[in-house]
Symmetry: C2
């Protein structure tokens, strides 16, 4: 458990009602009950006083715990005290719901207080007409900065960047730079390095604060700046930028426009979200649940899941047509119908295993040249090995169950074939999708299970038909 | 594409052989070929000169690209120039393979150069006997520090922490602190905040560098320090610590022992790896591939996958026993065997969708109180809705395919039942596992598919048997 110096009101008063999080780290039921009571009674000052000590991410957690009406009541009760950065911490559906319920003027007032990157995050999903109205209500400098960020492609580094940063000239001394930082009021809230730039804002070097701090005042900046630095392009996808952070263990990186001018910075807290979303997205895509949150409405959920189920219905019918080819075979030996799902199911699972490893390796850019060849070779061998292992197992089980050794041999042969097919297509399908520039996470599962189902049923029923002369 | 000031040798000489990464961000084939040629010819000085400019994570990438013999040749060629922190960037199997091939004395020499957290990371997976030998070859201070870290539980904050940090007393002025930082040679490589502690190393406050920098020299530390801070317990699981980072957008956090003394710090770069591993682990567990890397050997891969496939074989046989109950029914109407996989497959997919959403929501601690009830209600309704939609679709398809409206009605009814079952168990199974303190990601899929298979076959064959009087 985190030993937190809990920012919730009076967590040390010993009054249970006052404790924000319970022992499991969840928001305390008593605390929530009290908030609800205040909301219901319209006691806005009390609402404000219990909410005031919370971190904006905790305000976000509270919003997610409330239902629609309570959420809006909370935002209204806090009025101008509502910190819009809490909205960057909630699910998209909740964010849109709250923003749609608020008048654009109120949003403009709230957004004006935010860091540029948080403001962009809130505005980017709004309807064009609302967004333009909000932007036009902002002071001219904020408006232009936000517009420039919003002009970069969706999910680009330019969309995620913070446009406040500290740029200093190379000919200053450390002392001059410190005096500047002490005197200047309008600095970013948090920063981890200084950017050394020329007159056109081309980056000449970076200076991490720790190094800066440890240097004597008389030292010239250009003699201590780091000239071996990484920059990201504003047009670049945020996932590319995230990979630079991981690769070089960065905490902050400069973002440049197409002419190489420094236009903003990306910090690690934004990137943590990107990294998490990326892995999250692959999990969801592989299960066919789309871009879905637990707080989505029922209708949105149905909409997000139906397409995948339609695809699955289509492939299931196709598979069933394959089985239909063996109508006569099954009629003569109904045990085949009883056993056939085993072969298909084992192939499906083995295929899913290989596919998952391949999809994730592709996502992490782990599959270049030599490793790819080794992976393909390994999966073939694993397919054969698992095929043999499970052929023997299911063969014995079947032989005993039906007192028929031949039936055991037939199902064993089908098993070997399907396991090899599973290994082969578990790797080839995601690779092919990747080559075709499709996201391997989304469609691999359909293709692979369809293939292992078709081959599983076909091999088992086909071999049985031939072996027992049932055609 | 990252506009990197590429640290690879002579990336601006225009010589293709010299460029480390190709346009896709992968390691250039030409560059690798040259390295291989140097390794083969035993030209150790040339090997050292092409490797020298690389970041340690790039050295890790190179190691992953090479085969076993080449990897060891590279490490031997670099000899004392080999930076052991590169080993923190490679797959576990490669790390162990290299460390097992090296004499313990060489490892001790390499580990002595590392930050404490990297050293722990390398040592924790070694055999006890090797680890003790390496530790005893280290200077006494390093040995004791590493031993203390290694005494904390596996995957705890204490294992991941860096034991170098900057602690200052509250009564100093900013000026005194800056002078100390400038004078002191033995400081951590990177740091983002200072810790204000009393004589017993209890944390009184934290001071982010940016705030520190912007304050006049005469100001007292205790007047500007942040007293509303988060600490992490050394015994705490690293995933708990990662959640604190996400919740409060931290970059660095202090780690305290059971008596509240500051013993180390966790920085965001370690936590990024934890967050990624956690999501990664869920993906792998859900697909039943265990703790597996693309570079694992064939034997390790088979070992990691067989257990899940054995479980699946067991449940598949169980499902087939259920079908076996309807032997006589199928014999009288073979169309049932042809159609039955459709109902099971649709239920399996719908169940996987609900399960994935639930497993991830549990992993992210999103399911407290109100949200859980809403999720359950939503999934029931989604189950009914999807059940009706796909009942109608498959009903019509079946009625046309077999020219038999009654068969269409029967499969439709089975579909509705199985979709509701899928929604219900897709949420209840992970919840139950979570309550039982099992990881919902690992076993949910088996249970859910087994249930939807059993119910799918049972409902369809059972309803058909009753409807057509085939029992």
């Amino acid at each position: 458990m985190s030993e937190e110096f809990d920012p919730a009101p009076g967590s040390n008063t010993g009054n249970e009602n006052d404790v924000f999080r319970d022992a499991d780290g969840r928001i305390s039921a008593l605390w929530l009950e009290r908030l609800r009571a205040f909301l219901e009674a319209g006691r806005n000052d009390d609402v404000a006083s219990v909410m005031e000590p919370l971190h904006h991410s905790e305000v976000g957690d509270v919003l997610e715990q409330l239902d629609v009406a309570e959420r809006l009541a909370l935002v209204h009760a806090l009025d101008e005290k509502f910190d819009f950065s809490a909205l960057t911490e909630v699910d998209e559906s909740i964010r849109l719901e709250i923003m749609e319920a608020l008048p654009n003027a109120a949003i403009a007032r709230g957004v004006a207080e935010l860091d540029n990157d948080d403001a962009v995050y809130l505005l980017e999903d709004l309807e064009d007409i609302d967004r333009d109205e909000i932007l036009s209500a902002l002071p001219v400098f904020e408006r232009l900065t936000l517009k420039r960020s919003l002009d970069f492609p969706e999910d680009s580094a330019g969309r995620r960047m913070q446009t406040d940063f500290i740029a200093i000239p190379p000919f200053w001394t450390v002392g001059q730079a410190i005096d500047y930082l002490r005197a200047e009021k309008d600095l970013p809230d948090e920063f981890y390095q200084l950017y050394v730039v020329d007159a056109s804002y081309t980056v000449l070097g970076t200076l991490p604060l720790d190094k800066f701090l440890r240097t004597q005042r008389v030292t010239k900046i250009d003699s201590i700046m780091n000239t071996n630095f990484v920059l990201v392009n504003a047009e670049e996808d945020q996932e590319e930028a995230a990979r630079s952070f991981e690769r070089y263990d960065l905490v902050e990186v400069g973002v440049v426009d197409e002419s190489g001018r420094l236009v903003g910075v990306l910090t690690i807290d934004d990137i943590v979200d990107v990294i998490q979303e990326e892995a999250e997205e692959d999990i969801r895509l592989m299960a066919g649940v789309g871009d879905e949150d637990v707080s989505d409405t029922t209708l949105d959920t149905v909409k997000s899941r139906v397409p995948w189920l339609v695809v699955n219905l289509f492939t299931a019918v196709m598979v069933s047509l394959v089985i239909g080819l063996f109508n006569a075979t099954i009629e003569q030996m109904v045990a085949l119908a009883v056993l056939m799902p085993i072969v298909a199911s084992m192939g499906g699972n083995a295929g899913a295993q290989t596919m998952t490893v391949t999809v994730r390796a592709l996502a992490m850019r782990e599959l270049d040249g030599g490793r790819l060849r080794r992976l393909i070779r390994r999966e073939m061998v694993v397919g054969v090995a698992n095929g043999v292992i499970f052929a023997v197992l299911i063969g014995i089980v079947t032989a005993f169950r039906y007192g028929d050794v031949q039936l055991g041999i037939v199902i064993g042969m089908a098993m070997v074939i399907n396991m090899i097919v599973a290994g082969t297509f578990g790797i080839l399908v995601p690779l092919a999708l990747d080559k075709l520039k499709a996201d391997p996470a989304i469609a691999s599962a359909v293709f692979v299970t369809t293939i292992t189902d078709v081959i599983g049923f076909f091999a088992f029923l086909g071999i049985a038909g031939l072996w027992f002369g049932l055609f």
